[in-house]
Assembly symmetry: C2
DNA sequence: GGAACCTTTGTGATTGTATAACATAACTTG
DNA sequence: CAAGTTATGTTATACAATCACAAAGGTTCC
């Protein structure tokens, strides 16, 4: 039992989601204002879509909702907004799912990790650096320069695990 | 400076690649014989393609080469062979690239990690378990049950890093 | 040997994911 | 407001993956 910082994987945990969304949007606004980036209507709309649930959304699902909301309905519309959000650290790409998710800890340092439930599709982002020890040591040993990492686990979330093995 | 087991990331390291391919093919044959799996011509052809270079191959690139070699040229031909190889642990899927690579350590325990050079496309597989510490502790803390992990780093391989910052 | 069975391969068609290329609109700055 | 930059819209296309069904090849057992 060490007293290391306890991970706080949102998404598997009951919480006031309304507040969750509001906070994230406010943080996004603040950050864009600070960095001089333009938080345009499409970009905001995409972030709002991503924030509605703690799961990953495919680009075409987002595109459908953009169309309904009166935005352009061609793939680049969604991909460009997503690229922007990912660039700002306001969203992440979940490689294993070819899909996107709102950042659960905007503002915090980044190199996120994800836990993906294969049963209910919930996705939780780990708090803090997820960089693998084995990767870091392998990189150091060979002189590989790490720029970005992908760290994802697929399995069963607490709730689904309980159901599966009672 | 501890004396921990040194990782051996093939792919960034000069080596006798001819021997590398032969060894891997022999290992594949042996393993399939042992497990009763059929190492058929298409499957062998795909593994040979993957073994030619230490990088990841897209399914359609593999498909092209299969066509040239006289095999069927529809996507399922490639995907089925790849599925077989991945199932046998003879190849891996690199999520970040939506592509496939021959296993660099066939027979060894699995839960591989990859280092991907964004410049020259070389990919090296880490030796040993790449599972991230932060992931494991986050999973433990929440009760998430990990079944598979994706651990990948994108950056510059030693050679390209040297060129970039002399 | 051959009938019944199972696994593997071939093929056509379709869905999902992602980007290139180019035109237009809107915002910023001098 | 003119010029430059950034963002959006739209067309077309490339790449990734799967479904469904038919045909071929091994295996088993009588």
């Amino acid at each position: 039992m060490t007293s290391s910082a306890p991970p706080d994987p949102l998404g598997f945990v009951r919480h006031d989601h309304r507040k969750c969304e509001e906070t994230a949007l406010a943080a996004a606004e603040a950050q864009c204002a600070a960095s001089g980036a333009r938080f345009t209507p499409v970009r905001r709309a995409v972030l709002e879509i991503l924030l509605r649930e703690h799961r990953a959304f495919g680009a075409y699902e987002i595109l459908d909702r953009l169309r309904e909301a009166g935005f352009g309905s061609q793939p680049p519309v969604a991909y460009r907004a997503l690229e922007f959000l990912v660039g700002q650290g306001l969203a992440h790409r979940v490689e294993k799912l070819n899909a996107f998710i709102a950042c659960a800890h905007p503002g915090a340092s980044h190199d996120p990790g994800f836990m993906i439930c294969r049963q209910c599709q919930a996705v939780a982002e780990t708090r803090g650096e997820a960089r693998a020890g084995a990767l870091d040591s392998a990189a150091e040993a060979t002189g590989f320069v790490i720029e970005r990492t992908v760290v994802e686990a697929e399995g069963l979330c607490p709730r689904c695990a309980r159901k599966a093995a009672p």
